[in-house]
């Protein structure tokens, strides 16, 4: 009787170990597949939506390509004195997108987005002069005013999700278990 009980406990332990091994194997495959998906999109996105960095490092390759951009429109290039010393015309506009900055041209002045960012669609253009002033010829834009409010209120939602999740589930050594089942 005792022996059979010991056996069954051993079996349960073996099953648990097998279960863990299987879980690690499945997770490993999924992580590898996810990494492949990420690397694939990172290596190929320039064919569909090249970045400013890619264009500035290789203007010949990306000239004429249409791309979308998110960022803030500024009227004076960072690090350049700009309007005052005459190196940048007063109507020159630049797009600051992340760590990149590029000259943009549009038929009219693009106003700054208020507590948000500007969305742009435009073609990359190589400067005809020797001067290093490659630019984006903007065809369409939209100012997402007050869009940062969305991210602030989204943070509240995130806290709510964490709260509801831990109200229903408890983390144990065997993983998350529904609290109702524990009761």
């Amino acid at each position: 009787m005792m022996d059979s009980k010991k056996m069954s406990l051993k079996q349960v332990e073996n099953l648990k170990r097998m279960d863990l091994k299987l879980k690690i194997f499945i997770a490993g495959i999924c992580i590898l597949a996810l990494v492949w998906l990420c690397v694939n999109s990172y290596l190929n996105f320039d064919k569909y939506d090249p970045s400013i960095k890619q264009f500035l490092s290789n203007p010949d390759k990306y000239e004429g390509k249409i791309a979308s951009h998110k960022g803030n429109v500024v009227y004076e290039k960072e690090g350049v004195k700009g309007v005052k010393d005459g190196s940048i015309a007063e109507e020159d506009m630049y797009l600051k997108s992340g760590s990149e900055m590029i000259l943009i041209k549009y038929k009219e002045k693009i106003p700054n987005a208020i507590f948000g960012y500007t969305l742009l669609k435009g073609a990359y253009k190589k400067s005809e002069s020797n001067e290093q002033k490659n630019y984006i010829e903007v065809s369409e834009y939209w100012n997402n005013d007050y869009n940062y409010v969305k991210y602030i209120i989204s943070f509240i939602a995130l806290i709510y999700v964490i709260f509801v999740f831990f109200r229903e589930w408890k983390l144990t050594a065997n993983g998350f278990i529904e609290k109702i089942k524990l009761e």
């Binding site: 999924c30 996810l34 998906l37 939506d49 997108s97 992340g98 369409e140 940062y148 939602a157």
Partner: protein, 160 residues
């Protein structure tokens, strides 16, 4: 792209309509697509190449990437893997459906058929900063459902 409150509300509406008990899994799924991808938005505050980061993380906002991520998540739960998988998947499917209302100037993040196709699917209804239209609509629907359910429960209790 609606805000996360709207995504959570849409998840809660479906939970209330179909009496889903494990709401937390549905609403976890409903925020899942934005959890990783939105790291790229930090570039509004910190200088780093936004587009490169966005495209690196975009698979987390596609059905294939989300299926893989859901499989990894359910491994942290004990048992009932299929039910948990379905509930989390319902959440992110609702998220992607809500994101279809996006209006964009060009390619966005709705690469529903990635890696087979790089086409971005949008219905072009709301700009990103018009998120509050959907938020008000979903909040009204959610409150209405709660209200109707409460009335029905009271009526039931009276008859008993």
């Amino acid at each position: 792209m609606p805000d996360l409150i709207t995504h959570v509300l849409i998840g809660l509406i479906i939970c209330e309509l179909f009496n889903i008990r494990r709401k937390s899994l549905v609403i976890l799924g409903s925020v899942l697509p934005d959890l990783v991808l939105k790291i790229s938005l930090l570039s509004f505050f910190i200088d780093f190449p936004m587009k490169e980061i966005k495209w690196l993380l975009i698979p987390f906002h596609t059905p294939v990437g989300l299926i893989l991520l859901t499989i990894i998540i359910i491994l942290f739960f004990r048992g009932e893997y299929i039910l948990n998988f379905l509930l989390i998947s319902l959440g992110w499917a609702l998220h992607l459906a809500a994101d279809l209302t996006n209006k964009e100037v060009f390619i966005n993040q709705m690469l529903l058929l990635y890696p087979i196709s790089w086409k971005s699917y949008e219905l072009n209804i709301f700009w990103s900063n018009q998120y509050w239209y959907l938020m008000i609509i979903s909040l009204a629907i959610y409150l209405l459902i709660i209200f109707i359910k409460r009335i029905l429960r009271r009526k039931k209790a009276k008859y008993i």
